[in-house]
């Protein structure tokens, strides 16, 4: 039970933190349609974090609000990838694409999850996520080789984001036990599937990656699943919790 709570918390933290980063584009995105798109994506990710925290709550974890607003930043278990500042729009698009592709692979794998509530929840998340992936993949394909500047920006984003994205697949604490109970599929297996999905799409978009075939040749950015975070997370969590901490437990 403890292992499953840890796992659900890590997934929910990924969604919450990335959703917060996406929301930072509200009012600032380069064009109105993208402002609307990333505000929608942010809201979806927050919804998914709420669904996953609720599953953990049913197993004895604190409430979703307590998880989001009452924990210290070093208690989060999100990967480091979602913690980095939003960067330019190219980095935002690249991160969202790499993350959502990974989420699609994960949620697909949970269709055979032995824990029914998580299996059902993954189907709901998958249906909503389809819109994100379609949107960011289309942007990658268009911006990858549209103009010289768009190519340079997308290439810079791909170079920075790829090693970070591998951190999504850092092993969870207690993962072995969950794999044995057929609750989840091993992170290593998911990573291989993800690599074989994203590499062709990025290559086709004229982007170079630090890989040989489908084997990464870069140091993955690990630590988040064990609580070894970037300093960026401390600022993000302070921002996220600021209003709540003025009147803890207050109702609005």
């Amino acid at each position: 039970m403890k292992d499953l709570i840890t796992y659900l918390t890590a997934l929910a933290d990924d969604e919450l933190v990335l959703g917060h980063r996406d929301s930072e584009w509200t009012g600032y995105a380069p064009i109105l349609e993208e402002d609307i798109a990333f505000s929608n994506i942010a809201q979806d990710e927050l919804g998914h974090s709420l669904a996953l925290y609720s599953l953990a709550e049913a197993l004895g974890s604190p409430s979703p609000d307590a998880m989001a607003f009452e924990r210290s930043w070093n208690q989060f278990r999100c990967c480091r990838f979602v913690q980095y500042p939003k960067g330019d729009f190219a980095y935002t698009v690249m991160r969202q694409f790499l993350f959502d592709s990974a989420e699609q692979v994960r949620m697909n794998s949970l269709a055979s999850c032995s824990y029914d509530p998580l299996r059902d929840c993954s189907a709901k998340i998958l249906a909503e996520e389809a819109y994100h992936l379609m949107h960011t993949q289309a942007l990658i394909e268009r911006l990858g080789d549209a103009t010289e500047e768009s190519h340079i920006r997308m290439q810079t984003a791909a170079t920075a984001a790829f090693a970070q994205a591998l951190g999504i697949f850092e092993e969870f604490e207690g993962e072995e036990e969950l794999v044995k109970q057929r609750v989840i599929v091993a992170s290593k297996t998911l990573k291989d599937e993800w690599l074989s999905t994203v590499i062709p799409i990025l290559t086709k978009s004229s982007l170079k990656l630090p890989v040989r075939g489908t084997v990464p040749e870069c140091v993955p950015d690990l630590g988040g699943r064990k609580g070894a975070h970037t300093e960026h997370l401390s600022h993000l969590v302070a921002d996220l919790q600021k209003v709540y901490q003025m009147a803890p437990g207050g109702s609005w």
Partner: protein
Amino acid sequence: MQGWGRMKALTQHTADEVWTALKQVMDPEIPVISLVDLNVIREVSVNGSDVSIRLVPTFSGCPALDMMRQNVVEKLRELGFENIDVHVDRTALWSTDELSDATREKLREFGIAPPVRKGTSLAVTLMLPVECPFCRSKETRLEGEFGATLCKQLFYCDGCRQSFERFKPL
């Protein structure tokens, strides 16, 4: 004491009556369709003055959910129930494919193009022609996969030169 017990018994409602009453609770953002039309009320069980409801969110991140829940509670209180339990089930699937033709027509009359029924591929579904809810022209195009709320997308009609929204097929 016995008298009070009997009076309570007289004001009790059946599950069917609760379903009928919930047809008057409208979606907070699309006030022409009820929560029953929207297929978010999944179970009603009544036991004397206790009632319990299973409520399924449309999109996981829909911010109207709390208002829906509150409006359901108010309606049930109006009916005289004392112990009201509205359980939010975040794991159940919700799909626009379940919306009835009558509900789709209400959406159209309200000015929102109804969702098409989803095929096997979302990309293909989104390429199907969409009829403008105002002038019925099919000369329309998708302006953005996203819209002003999670459940809508932005379209433009070349027939009447107006923007309109379409309920997102989910």
